[in-house]
């Protein structure tokens, strides 16, 4: 399945809802007037885009319609697409693999961090980049086993310690091991933490300190990726803000974009934070984590012009 097909099929339900809504209001109003814009706003909110983005997008259409006097369906759709693309950007994760790159996989509970870490490792390992996984989620029962299972499938070594051990010590071990083995990409799976828990957030800071200190000698570059569950509502925005406060986020990974997700939350978070989406989880298979592509995403969300 091509990447486009994956985005397409993942967002098919949302797209169907958006298309139906769009056509329904187009048919019932005939012209794109104020009531139409209200309905359009509603459709966008229903796709989890949040009130702010929905209002921004509809305001832009209102403005352009007023200025240019065009009210046909293609024009409105085109405007919508342009504006969505102005929010999202395609910024692939292409670090310099001459050095060691350390990727922290962060996020609240249940967003799919471990799975994402496993899939990322598999994908880069296959591209010929020497990859390693570290199980720094020492809190959730069986998280270590889960990551080890992923490591086996991907053929990537997994550094781990026992349940309840200090996650920073796992990071330390992994850094030593990565340096010794000449690893180019170390992916660290961390415990899910609700962003309003200060203790867990300070534990995260400690892991960062260890990685930065140990990585200094080899010029390691640290990347922080926040994993967001696409079925999450507006709290995703608050999650991104909170994580970005304690650490600088370099990218967002949106998971579970297939099936029951609405997807609009991607717009809400990127609009609010201006942090690029780097990967999208489009299915449960090991190959279903794809580099995020804004154009494909928007095309999958909106009806055909």
């Amino acid at each position: 399945m091509s990447l486009f097909d994956k985005f397409r099929s993942g967002l098919s339900k949302t797209r169907q809802a958006v298309t139906e809504g769009f056509n329904r209001v187009a048919a019932s109003f005939g012209v794109f007037d104020e009531d139409f814009l209200d309905e359009l706003e509603m459709i966008l909110i229903q796709a989890d885009s949040g009130v702010q983005v929905a209002t921004k997008l509809t305001d832009s259409i209102r403005e352009r319609v007023r200025k240019e006097g065009k009210v046909d369906r293609e024009y409105v759709l085109g405007t919508l697409k342009d504006d969505m693309l102005a929010i999202l950007e395609t910024k692939p994760f292409r670090p310099d693999f001459e050095h060691l790159n350390v990727v922290f996989i962060l996020g609240v509970n249940g967003t799919g961090k471990t799975t994402t870490a496993g899939k990322l490792a598999a994908s880069f390992q296959r591209q010929g980049i020497k990859t390693m996984l570290a199980a720094a989620d020492t809190f959730r029962a069986a998280a270590i086993e889960q990551l080890q299972a992923w490591g086996e499938r991907a053929g990537v070594p997994v550094i781990s310690n026992t349940l309840r051990s200090d996650p920073a010590s796992v990071v330390f071990d992994a850094m030593q091991s990565a340096k010794a083995r000449g690893v180019k990409l170390l992916i660290i799976d961390t415990a899910g933490r609700l962003h309003n828990k200060p203790n867990l957030m300070s534990e995260m800071e400690k892991m960062h300190r260890v990685a930065a200190r140990e990585g200094e000698t080899v010029g390691a570059v640290i990347h922080n990726f926040l994993v967001l569950d696409a079925t999450t509502g507006q709290n995703a925005v608050i999650q991104a803000r909170a994580f970005n406060e304690v650490t600088t986020l370099d990218g967002l990974i949106i998971t579970k974009l297939d099936g029951n997700a609405k997807g609009g939350i991607a717009l809400a978070v990127v609009e609010d934070m201006d942090i690029p989406l780097v990967f999208a989880g489009l299915g449960e298979g090991i190959d279903d984590l794809a580099p995020f592509d804004a154009e494909l995403f928007v095309d999958s969300l909106l009806p055909e012009a």
Partner: protein, 446 residues
């Protein structure tokens, strides 16, 4: 979110502009409804539910005498809050128990909702009630899911049935039931496989499990952070598998949990329990008003409004307000305030409930016993002294100290505090007049 925390203030700002008008106009109401609509949407309440609700609230608000009240914004918030509470509450939320003596609960939901943790928490909850639960994981898909449940089960000393060789979930479920009966357990909790999406395969599997063990309760586990899709998920499960109630998880986060309202309203199914943290004992009974407050993002202020509306004598309040505006705040007023505030409960709590005012009042050092002592001192004063503290000479102060069982230092301190309070009151009444941030006592409806 900014949009959110300000609902109360925004409504108040709208109504402030209407001061002096005898009736609420349609456009005023429309403006207020828009704020309510946005607030609910930001809380991830489903759009259709928001639409219906704002219509109902609008009708209720128009019919009542909200504008007669001193704080109509707060009154409207109260109407909204009551409506939400009504929807969320109502029907029985106790877990069903099988009359045959062996109860089966089946937990299902999307991946990452917290099913496995909730299964273990539920076992712990039942164990605390003197039940003998047994757990089983029938997740044949996710690596290590069964291990996770097993580890949790061990930590609470509850048996857990696992069969890693078996790939048919319904067979494991049936075996677990047999094992449970053999172990003389009385409740089986079945943790099913979570999926990223609701698909044919998942439904078929859940149906097979349900028909194998005939659950007394089929419980949907919902993440408090879920967005607009919550309703569709609940409806689909209800249609395909049957849904008896739901458990909302991760309420220890800061998500508003608007899905609770949407699912309750659209499926009519009750919320049975809520997960309040990662620890195994953090599964709690559901409280409709708390959830309503949470969705509105203004829990404490609402409690305060309710407490205040119960405790405060409107007439007295009005009188105080008038005096305040004339900058006449006497020791008698202070006594009345002390008594009224004291009636509402812990002063420290009250102060902490006030958004914005809390920090300001910290300087005034609020202390419970101190308040009681202050009241005693004022009660030992004559009416004239209460009206004008300037006449309090050394001899009067000695008498008051003796009368209230305090020292002259205490009396002096009270007078200083009174002067300090007077200053604060002036500040607050000043705020009120400028139409800016409303002060401490306006929160009380004063």
């Amino acid at each position: 979110m900014a949009v959110f925390q300000g609902l109360s203030e925004k409504l108040q700002a709208i109504t402030d502009r209407m001061r002096g008008k005898s009736r609420i106009t349609e456009s005023d109401l429309k403006e207020m409804m828009r704020e309510i609509r946005l607030a609910l949407l930001e809380a991830d309440v489903h759009y259709q539910v928001v639409k219906d609700l704002t219509k109902e609230i609008s009708e209720k608000s128009a019919g009542t005498e909200v504008m007669q009240s001193i704080t109509p914004g707060q009154q409207i918030v109260k109407i909204v809050h009551d409506s939400l509470t009504e929807i969320l509450g109502g029907s029985e939320s106790k877990l069903a128990v099988s009359p045959k003596g062996f109860t089966v609960y089946m937990l299902y939901g999307l991946q990452g909702a917290g099913k496995t943790t909730t299964a273990a928490k539920l076992a712990n909850y039942l164990k605390d009630q003197g039940k003998k639960p047994i757990l089983t994981s029938v997740d044949v898909h996710r690596p290590a899911a069964a291990d996770q449940l097993n580890i949790l089960a061990k930590s609470i000393d509850v048996p857990c049935y696992i069969n890693k060789e078996e790939k048919r979930a319904e067979v494991i479920a049936k075996e677990a039931m047999d094992r449970g009966r053999y172990l003389l357990a009385d409740t089986l909790i079945v943790d099913t496989a979570g999926r990223m999406t609701i698909d044919e395969e998942m439904m078929t599997e859940l149906k097979a499990i349900a028909s194998a063990v005939k659950p007394d309760e089929k419980l949907l586990i919902v993440d408090a952070m879920i967005g607009q899709e919550a309703v569709n998920i609940a409806l689909e499960f209800d249609r395909e598998i049957g849904l008896d109630g739901f458990i909302m998880t991760k309420l220890d986060g800061d998500a508003r949990g608007g899905a609770a309202l949407s699912i309750r309203r659209i499926t009519g199914k009750p919320i049975k329990l809520v997960g309040m943290g990662e620890k195994i004992d953090q599964l709690e009974v559901f409280h409709p008003e708390r959830m309503a407050s949470r969705i509105l993002g203004m829990g404490d202020v609402l409690t305060l409004v309710e407490k205040a509306s119960r405790q405060i004598d409107e007439e007295k309040a009005q009188k105080t307000l008038e005096r305040l505006q004339k900058n006449r705040f006497t020791l008698q007023d202070m006594l009345e305030q002390l008594e009224q505030v004291r009636d509402m409960g812990s002063i420290q709590d009250m102060v902490s409930m006030l958004p914005g005012a809390g920090g300001k009042l910290k300087d005034a050092e609020v202390d419970e016993k101190e308040f009681d002592r202050l009241a005693a001192i004022i009660r030992s004063m004559t009416i004239r002294e209460r009206e004008n503290h300037k006449i309090l000479n050394a001899s009067r102060r000695r008498r008051i100290a003796a009368g209230s069982g305090t020292s002259i230092q205490d009396v002096n301190k009270l007078i200083r505090q009174y002067e300090q309070t007077q200053k604060i009151m002036k500040q607050f009444s000043g705020f009120g007049k400028k139409g800016g941030k409303r002060g401490l006592f306006s929160q009380f409806g004063l």
